[in-house]
Amino acid sequence: MKSRETPENLSVVEVKEVYKSFKTVKAVNGVSLTIKQGQFTALLGPNGAGKTTLVEMIEGIQKPDNGDITILGKKWEGHQNELHRSIGLSLQETRFIDKLTVEETMKLFAGFYQLGNERVNEIISEINLGEKRKSYTVNLSGGQRQKLALGLALLNNPKLLLLDEPTTGLDPNARREIWHILLQLKAKSQTSLILTTHYMEEAEQLCDYIIIIDSGRILLEGTRDELLNSDNKKIIEFTPEGSDNDLNEIISGNSDFDINWDENTRKGIITIDDLETELPEFINYLKLKNIQLKNFESRRKTLDDLFTTLTGRHLNA
């Protein structure tokens, strides 16, 4: 498709008022979104928020009950082959043919796109699986398997890349490796990415646009900066000593401060606008009540804080 529009304005994905229900569950409940070229977008939400259903509808794997989805200006009906050539994806749970090696699996999929061995070698080095080239996929670790899945998604130089929870269940090192590959991709290509995750760090690290969804609806969306730095609110996290009795006011929320108490971690969180005047007031209050602190920190606002403010729950609860 020749683009008459400038790349920044070209929308790669257009989702309009999409609904999808399964028996008793409304998985996706009226979602609209637009993904621009080169934009890395995170669909952030807890498990069961409807992320996978939404992504699978964009991937053409599921059909929406209602609403329209266009990819690169085209609907799935009648353009399957063309769209399959333009997108790359990895499913939430990917298992391969056990007794094929990494290289053979790559070649098999490369064959589907009529790509040669050159591209296979390129991708294998990009995803850093050169050492495992001759290993059977059944013997790969979780991280290696996800890298292979990512490599398969990248084979055809997709205009749109869709990754469904690419790092769920991986250890921090493996997760960072996947991030590294994606950041490299971002630096050198115009690929747009839609990534689902329930890790706020992942959304923050990788994506410039974040859509927070819960119960099949979009709660909030915006660029990373818009979401996190729009207000100048600061987060104070403190861990007091003492029994429930001593901390009665804090736990029950009867103090003058708006304290969010987490019973599990026994941490209090307050959000303040003006660190210089409000913080000393809070310290004075603790002194007055004779409350000793085990720990005290001031930190920037996270996406989890945002989610908690909106839903009263944590992302990874």
């Binding site: 399959h84 050539r85 298992r95 391969f96 007794k99 094929l100 098999l108 398969l152």
Partner: protein
């Protein structure tokens, strides 16, 4: 790719290639070797002194050898009847109690019980069991010194090729092997890939769905040719089995069988993503055919009303077709009907299967 993965699973090679060979060898030996047969017979102790005029008692005393079983310390009487043509028969009589005799009968160690009474000898056996009947007839002939054949009659054992049990069995085994490897290899493979979401992943590429299925079927057919060929080669070398009919006819029926069972496999595996359900489905389809289609024993023992149905089962069509070419010397005209029937079965099942096929 598919063929490589097959080669890398040693279990696939074992069950697909080695196991049918072993089965042919085992059953072939069991039914071709004329081994000496040993019949054990329980003799119930009368608890009274038997008149020596009792014919059976005098037979035991005069003509058999008395021995004691080293393991059970029971008294046994042995007699071996030699027969160059039909093989030797050895009868072992063991004195035992009534309850012990019933136990031996239930365990299948014996099929005949003899009870001595003062004025007569009673033979007890299941009249429906042909084997028990045969033991009784043979034994009573030995005891009474009767001959079956008169001077101007003789027995000629049939060892002609094509009339032995192994000649009957090998074509059926080839047919069954084709069915099993098609339905399991193809059907179960598809179900497993669906459960792994691999099908879902593959069709999210420009891969043509028909190419995918055709490549699976092609590899499976080639495997079937190799398996069938090996089984035949083995039977030829060990049992001297030959193909008496038309090779072209054999080739055609083989191809039709592959198409037929590939279609059935696609239909069987068109929906489910659960390997356990798949397992059940495949068994539900293959087991009745193995039992009914006359692979191990002729289906002519089934009631007449069932035979019409049995004859149109795909496995029956294939097994009978291959068998007629192997041992009856059938040619092209003889296999036209099963050829088209199998082909149509395959095409229709494939078509319906594709309509229902669930890729994700």
């Amino acid at each position: 790719m598919h063929s490589k993965t097959l080669m890398r699973e040693p279990a696939v090679l074992f069950w697909g290639v080695v196991f049918p060979l072993l089965m042919a060898l085992g059953l072939g030996l069991a039914f071709t070797q004329k081994l000496d047969t040993i019949h054990k017979v329980a003799v119930i102790n009368p608890g009274i002194v038997i008149d020596s005029a009792n014919r059976f008692e005098s037979f035991l005393k005069m003509r058999t050898k008395r021995a004691t079983d080293s393991a059970t310390h029971k008294v046994q009487y042995k007699i071996t009847v030699k027969d160059a043509k039909l093989g030797n028969n050895t009868y072992i009589f063991e004195r035992t109690s009534q309850t012990e005799a019933m136990k031996m009968l239930k365990r299948g160690e014996i099929n005949l019980i003899i009870e001595e009474k003062n004025d007569e000898t009673e033979f007890r056996f299941d009249p429906v069991s042909p084997e028990a009947h045969l033991t009784y007839l043979n034994l009573s002939r030995v005891i009474n010194n009767n001959k079956i054949t008169t001077e101007d009659e003789s027995v000629a054992p049939l060892t002609l090729r094509g009339t032995r049990y192994i000649d009957f069995f090998v074509p059926g085994l080839i047919a069954m092997g084709m069915m099993m490897s098609s339905i399991w290899g193809l059907g179960y493979g598809i179900i497993e890939n669906r459960s792994k979401k691999l099908l879902r992943r593959m069709i999210a590429t420009p891969m043509k769905k028909s190419y995918f299925l055709i490549s699976l079927i092609t590899v499976r057919s080639i495997m079937n040719f190799i398996e069938g060929g090996l089984l035949f080669l083995f039977s030829y070398l060990v049992f001297g089995i030959t193909i008496q009919g038309s090779i072209i006819a054999l080739l055609l029926i083989f191809i039709a069988g592959n198409v037929g069972f590939a279609g059935i496999a696609i239909l069987t595996s068109s929906r489910t993503a659960n390997p356990e359900v798949g397992n059940g489905l495949i068994n539900a389809i293959s087991t009745p055919m193995i039992v009914l289609s006359g692979i191990f024993f002729s289906y002519h023992n089934f009631p007449d009303w069932a035979i019409g149905f049995i004859k149109i089962l795909p496995l029956t069509l294939l097994a009978d077709g291959i068998r007629s070419i192997f041992i009856e010397g059938a040619g092209l005209p003889d296999i036209i009907v099963p050829f088209f029937a199998l082909l149509m079965t395959g095409v229709i099942c494939f078509y319906i299967g594709l309509k229902f096929f669930k890729w994700y």
